[in-house]
Amino acid sequence: MLIALKRIIKSGWSGFVREGGLSVATIFILVMAIFLVGSLFFLKDVSQYLIASIQEKVDVSVYFKSDAAEEDIFTLKEEITKIPEVKDVEYVSKEQALSDFTKKHESDPVLIDSLTEVGGNPFFATLNITAFQANQYGSIASFLEKDDFKNLIEKVDYYQRKSAIDKIFSFTSILKNSGIILAVILVILALLNTFNTIRLAIYSNREEIKIQRLVGASNWFIRGPFIVQGAVAGILSAIICFIIFTLICWGIGSRMEFFSPGLNMIEFYKNGFWSLLLIQFSAGIILGVSSSLVAIRRYLRA
């Protein structure tokens, strides 16, 4: 048994080396397939981060009347926090709002002058409320429209922002779903492509397989070296893919932060290192071995 295994591995390796051209072609296709699988896994995390950061920017603001007492606002804040749909509530006082505005527009004399002209502090104290889901903003808004708060609240900007909120959430949901569909299609294409390449490689060996059968080789003794070749191609492809991935992530690095703060590819790479390694190696070996197994089946039947 051990001696047969040793011979199968040796024969598979020498077949892999001797059929250099075919092996290179197989590795090339496998690298593309593994790279695709790895990228989809990697981009899943990146896109989830991007979607979450877009959704985080969505909130509704509650503007309080100028004479609303801060204690009443805090009491309301407490109550809002207790609503299960609410993810986060942030209080911005009148003074804070004025200071934020002045800081933001200090280089714009027109705006600063107009502020002086108005006199005093024209800003309202606000509560910025973030919900877990887009459809939860409606119920939060209706809670705030209760008569109990009428003398406290100037306005809730939910209805002005409703269409924008809905659009953002439907866009991110389309992005998620189409990403999944695209990933499935691409993985199927990669699998078919890999299978076809290995099938062609084995097809070119069909005469040899026939001879091996005629001189008394068992099916496993014939199949074994092809499985070894598939596994070797898979492992080498995974190593190549891993190097490419590392170089790309290091190359891009923190440049993606331009699109979204905190989007650092090196961080994503470090966090997903082991999963990525596992996915690429298992994808390589499974693709190589299973394609060989399926492709050789038909030649071992007669």
Partner: protein, 226 residues
């Protein structure tokens, strides 16, 4: 040992390769199969090796029905037979040494036995200087000698040789025939298909003559006849 019982082989739609073939071969016999090209000699070997199934009749090898043997048992059965194919059927991806060693690897011989036996048989067939060459680098005669070496390396019970001297010069032919006779003397049954008149006449062995897929003559110490 080998028994053909009313065997027929028809290739669709209606090409008759063999018809009403009946004969028996005893252990340690040396049988020559003679006949023109297309007479059915190669088909007969293919059926005996279960490379193809007969359309009618049954073929027995040591009381095993070869024509109905399960696929899973074929490899063990084929290890009992050494074959010199007319078109050599050497493994193109392996060199001469590996081609011959492959048969021993298949049956699970040790590395030491393989090295000893392959070296010896390569010397016998005169290919010691070609061990590292691949089939594509060999002449017709060398390929034939490599095929002969592969057929006898594992000391099979039967050797089927399909025109084994077809590409050899008279000197090599005499050597190979001597070798086959020697192997036969040591107890291996030999079935040799040939249309070499001189070879058939010189051997004075049993000759089965085929014509159009039928056995037209089966004679002890037969001679080549049209």
């Amino acid at each position: 040992m080998i028994k053909f019982q009313n065997v027929a082989k028809v290739y669709p739609p209606d090409t008759i390769a063999l018809k009403d073939v009946n004969f028996e071969v005893k252990p340690k016999e040396f049988v020559l199969l003679s006949g023109k090209s297309g007479a059915g000699k190669t088909t007969l070997f293919k059926l005996l090796l279960a490379e193809e199934r007969p359309t009618e009749g049954r073929i027995f090898f040591d009381d095993q029905d070869v024509s109905r043997m399960k696929l899973s048992k074929l490899h063990n059965f084929r290890r009992k037979i050494g074959v010199v194919f007319q078109d050599y059927k050497l493994l193109a991806s392996k060199n001469v040494y590996e081609n011959i060693a492959y048969v021993l690897e298949v049956i699970g011989a040790s590395d030491k036995e393989i090295k000893r036996d392959v070296t010896e048989v390569l010397e016998i067939v005169g290919l010691s200087h070609r061990v590292s060459n691949f089939p594509v680098e060999l002449s017709g005669g060398e390929k034939q000698r490599a095929a002969i070496a592969r057929a006898l390396i594992h000391r099979p019970e039967v050797i089927l040789a399909d025109e084994p001297t077809g590409n050899l010069d008279p000197y090599n032919t005499a050597d190979i025939v001597r070798l086959l006779l020697k192997i036969n003397e040591l107890g291996t049954t030999i079935l040799l298909a040939t249309h070499d008149k001189e070879l058939i006449n010189s051997l004075e062995k049993r000759v089965i003559t085929l014509d159009g897929g039928r056995i037209i003559r089966d004679e002890e110490k037969g001679r080549f006849t049209f």
